[in-house]
Amino acid sequence: MARQHVTMTVNGDEADFLCETDQTLLSALRDELQLTGTKEGCGTGDCGACSVMLDGRLVCSCLTLAVEVEGKEVETIEGMAQGENLHPLQTKFLEHAALQCGICTPGFLIAARALLEKSPDPTESEVRYWLAGNLCRCTGYHKIVEAVLDAAAEMRGH
């Protein structure tokens, strides 16, 4: 079958790619656009490592078809830092040692930013339930939750 041409915006830049109709957004990002910061942990929407924003909504890119993003705006981990400046969540993850192997980190950061945009002053429980769709096998979550709460405080200006 002929490959489909998809035009979209990724991290503010216009981009386009050719894809199969059954190809996922995750595969298009990684294999067609070479944006490998978004990770595949399961391919079935269970681990959250492939989390991206699609028109401002948090989605698993492994459950989104690439052809669905025609004309839409995708935000990935590669667009999180502004120039040389890390996002406060990125800084806090480093300060709190909230990552060990780091394979889940892009997904956690995208998901956590989505939470803080919606809920700038979350409780610990809110953070834990919001991030329950993101698996981390290294940290036991403690330092991730601390980093998100600390970033939220900093982004509110304390």
């Binding site: 199969e20 059954d22 990684r30 070479q34 944006l35 490998t36 910061g37 978004t38 990770k39 595949e40 942990g41 399961c42 391919g43 079935t44 269970d46 681990c47 490592a49 990935t76 981990i77 590669e78 999180m80 830092a81 890390l86 990125q90 993850f93 480093l94 300060e95 709190h96 040692a97 990552l99 060990q100 192997c101 780091g102 394979i103 889940c104 980190t105 892009p106 950061l109 610990e124 429980s125 953070v127 834990r128 339930y129 991030l131 329950a132 769709g133 993101n134 698996l135 981390c136 096998r137 290294c138 940290t139 036991g140 979550y141 403690h142 330092k143 991730i144 939750v145």
Partner: protein, 762 residues
């Protein structure tokens, strides 16, 4: 050159602080390249056809339709691999039976588990490779299978290996069996010991195999050249071991294989051995193109890992004042399809926390129709501890003694001799238990339906072959090339900190990178809690060697003898006023003129590191049991553990917390569900159910520091121990909450609910 590697108690500037890890930014920006992030020009894609049966003869394989599919470039079966005899060959400190390893990479005469690789295909796209796999016809003769360890030990059980006769039994049995090996340690007189006991507890426990659950699937990419060399990028904990295994399996010279370890997205023991690597190399060789292969999560569950589960029999006797008089233990561990369950570790860790006069421990390594087990964080030890620590809690309650006091009465200490012959040097078990008693958590009030339990854990820790190369750059910065892998977090940071401490510079002046197999001598897998310990020793050796050179260069500049120069606070200084009045020279001062004083300045070290310091830990866990659903929620959890010395305390805490939560998963949720047909029914994260953030509380930590005398900074490994205490601690806590004691993992809601209904407390 001789270096003193023993512990020195001295003032520290860098060690013990919490700098941001040097390889951190790449991980929060998506820049770090893990296995599946590596791509090569002209690469094609591999896929594996796997057995749908738990046990079957392969009658025939017809690849003709797949080979005819446009875009298919290479197909590999066991015909492409040499037959290997049963022969136990050392790969570093790992003993490998290559007869089994080649069969686990690709099945030969039989398939032995659902998911066993049968054929590998490479094609110009992943979609074509998937289609090709479906076009392969394999004719199987299905055989009876066995999944359960106890059933596999029965004399009439379906037999996996017709040529497997139990080792460790005299005389060797004449009939083959699924029991690959028996192992035993015994000291004292068991009967006499039990005769002195006032109370005896004798119980049977079962633990389930659990997957390591790293989020990054296995991924490998090989580029084989017509000149007979190959480059292999792979997600592994031990690229030198991968190289050695590939060399033997593929009958290649070691020097012709270069393995580059990618950033590792979690391993926990599950990435120490080859799976995809030999397949991508052979595929690449056959089609002259780089071949990339990445496992799906379903393949991970069906065909890699798990950590072993098994059956544990425990009998412990004690006097009425709490002195253990005798302890008997048997563990029957599931090896999976090929022998190799962690028997020594399980048996040798069973009672090692306690000083007991009369002990017998027995272990069996049992083959079943499941994937071959792999190491998983303190392999074998959590199984053993689930039984032993549960029995100890029962004994303490039987004599109305506080369970921590009970352990203190029997705790191993410096000078205690283990039943396997090792006498302990300074260890931190007693101190750890005292800190448990003193911790506010231990005496905090509990609410309704809540209970508290304690469990303890031990791990040997290891050293072994480790190499490193250190260069003082022209501007005075330092580059350390290591052969261990950043397995979890903080490894590079900790090594940079130890080097910085040696040189008297900021940690930021030291850059640590992982070398490929062509750049350094052999390194054992980064496992067993050795990265910071053994890697630290060679990093310190290399640093001291380079510092000696820096002093010589300063001496040359000042025209004094080398022994008239000392290295202090990052500078060469005259050893005394008598030497002369010279301005101190910084590392940068010396480095920038090194070409005028003899050339570049470096240090390196290659050593089979010995002297690992045993690790001991304890955890306090509070649970709340939902009487309507049977769900157990961990509501407070404290980890207290001896780290020897925490180089970067945040990453030591991270090891404690991560291990504890893996233990919570093992205790409460994680389980493989096999159907009657021997097929795995829950090969995905959703149904396998590792803990998520909302399942667990904050994990409090307390680092005990009893220095390891055999490390310059006192380091002990810390990664393994934290997974050991949770399963018994949670079982003990559930008993405290609802009066029901569980002997079978996981303690999942249906089981807990049923138990409460049975005892009328639901």
């Amino acid at each position: 050159m001789s270096v003193s590697l023993s512990y020195e108690d001295k003032a520290l500037n860098v060690i013990g602080t919490r700098p941001i890890r040097p390889d951190g930014v790449d991980r929060v920006t998506g820049r770090a390249r893990f296995g599946a992030d590596i791509n090569l020009p002209g690469q094609i894609y591999g896929r594996v056809l796997r057995s749908p049966h738990a046990h079957a003869h392969i009658k025939s394989i017809d690849i003709s339709k797949a080979a005819a599919l446009p875009g298919v470039k290479a197909i590999v079966t066991s015909d492409d691999f040499d037959e290997m005899p049963t022969e136990y060959i050392a790969v570093g400190e790992m003993i490998v039976n290559f007869r089994d390893l080649t069969r686990n990479v690709i099945a030969r005469e039989k398939v032995l588990y659902d998911g066993h690789p049968v054929v590998a295909v490479a094609a110009t796209s992943d979609a074509i490779a998937r289609r090709a796999v479906k076009l392969i016809d394999v004719e199987y003769e299905i055989l009876p299978h066995v999944i359960d360890v106890v059933k596999a030990m029965a004399p009439d059980a379906p037999l996996l290996h017709e040529d497997q006769f139990t080792q460790g039994v005299e005389p060797t049995p004449e009939k083959p069996s699924n029991i690959a090996k028996r192992m035993m340690f015994e000291i004292g007189n068991l009967d006499a010991g039990f005769a002195k006991a006032d109370h005896v507890v004798e119980r049977v426990y079962t633990t389930k195999p659990v997957h390591q659950g790293y989020i990054e699937p296995h991924s490998s990419i090989a580029s084989y050249s017509e000149d007979g060399t190959v480059e292999l990028w792979t997600a592994t904990q031990g690229h030198f071991v991968i190289r050695a295994q590939c060399a033997r399996l593929l009958n290649m010279e070691i020097s012709k294989i270069k393995v580059i370890a990618t950033e590792l997205g979690g391993g926990f023991g599950g990435k120490n051995n080859v799976y995809l690597e030999p397949l991508v190399i052979v595929l690449s060789k056959k089609c002259n193109r780089p071949v990339k292969m990445t496992m799906s999560r379903e393949e991970e569950f069906r065909a890699t890992g798990p950590g072993a589960g098994g059956r544990i029999l425990v009998k412990i006797g004690c006097t009425k004042d709490g002195k253990i008089t005798a302890a008997d233990f048997q563990i029957d561990l599931q090896a999976g399809a090929y022998a190799g369950a962690p028997l020594p570790q399980a048996t040798m860790s069973a009672f090692t926390r306690y000083d007991i006069e009369n002990v017998r421990v027995v272990g069996h390594d049992v083959t079943v129709n499941r994937p071959k087990v792999a190491a998983y964080r303190a392999p074998g030890a959590p199984n053993a501890a689930f039984g032993v620590e549960g029995a100890i809690d029962e004994l303490a309650r039987a004599i109305s003694l506080d369970p921590v006091d009970f352990r203190l009465k029997n705790a191993a200490k410096e000078g205690s001799k283990t039943y396997y012959g090792v006498t302990f040097g300074p260890i931190g078990f007693v101190k750890t238990l005292e800190r448990v008693k003193a911790h506010p958590h231990y005496s905090a009030p509990l609410g309704p339906n809540q209970g508290r339990g304690v469990g303890t854990g031990f791990w040997f820790n290891i050293g072994f072959d480790t190499t490193t190369s250190l260069n003082v750059n022209e501007d005075g910065t330092i580059t350390l090339t290591i052969g261990t892998v950043e397995v979890a977090g903080g490894g590079r940071a900790s090594l940079a900190m130890m080097v910085a401490e040696e040189f008297g510079v900021d940690a930021g002046k030291v850059h640590v990178s992982t070398g490929d197999t062509s750049q350094l001598g052999f390194n054992f897998v980064t496992a067993g809690s050795r990265g910071t310990f053994a890697g630290g020793i060679v990093a310190v050796m290399a640093s001291r060697q380079a510092i000696e050179t820096l002093k010589e260069r300063a001496a040359m500049t000042w025209d004094v003898a080398a022994d008239e120069v000392v290295w202090e606070d990052g500078h060469a200084r005259p050893a005394s006023a008598n030497v002369g009045d010279f301005e101190p020279l910084s590392i940068g001062d010396i480095a920038k003129v090194s070409n005028k004083t003899g050339g570049p300045i470096s240090g390196h070290a290659e050593l089979n590191v010995q002297g690992a310091g045993p690790g001991f830990g304890a955890q306090i866990v509070d649970v709340e049991v939902d009487r309507e659903t049977g769900r157990v929620q961990v509501i407070r959890h404290t980890v207290i553990q001896d780290a020897g010395k925490a180089i970067h305390p945040a990453y030591v805490e991270g090891q404690f917390q991560g291990g504890a939560v893996q233990g919570i998963g093992w205790a409460l949720n994680e389980e493989y569900i096999y159907g009657e047909d021997g097929r795995l029914q829950n090969p995905g994260f959703l149904d396998y159910r590792v803990p998520v953030a909302s399942d667990v509380p904050h994990i409090d930590t307390e680092i005990v520091e009893v220095p390891n005398p055999n490390h310059p900074y006192g380091v002990r490994g810390v990664g393994e121990v934290p997974i050991v205490p949770p399963t018994p601690a949670i079982a003990n806590a559930i008993h405290d909450a609802i009066g029901v004691r569980f002997y079978d993992l996981p303690m999942s809601p249906p089981k807990v609910l049923k138990a409460m209904k049975d005892n009328g407390t639901a």
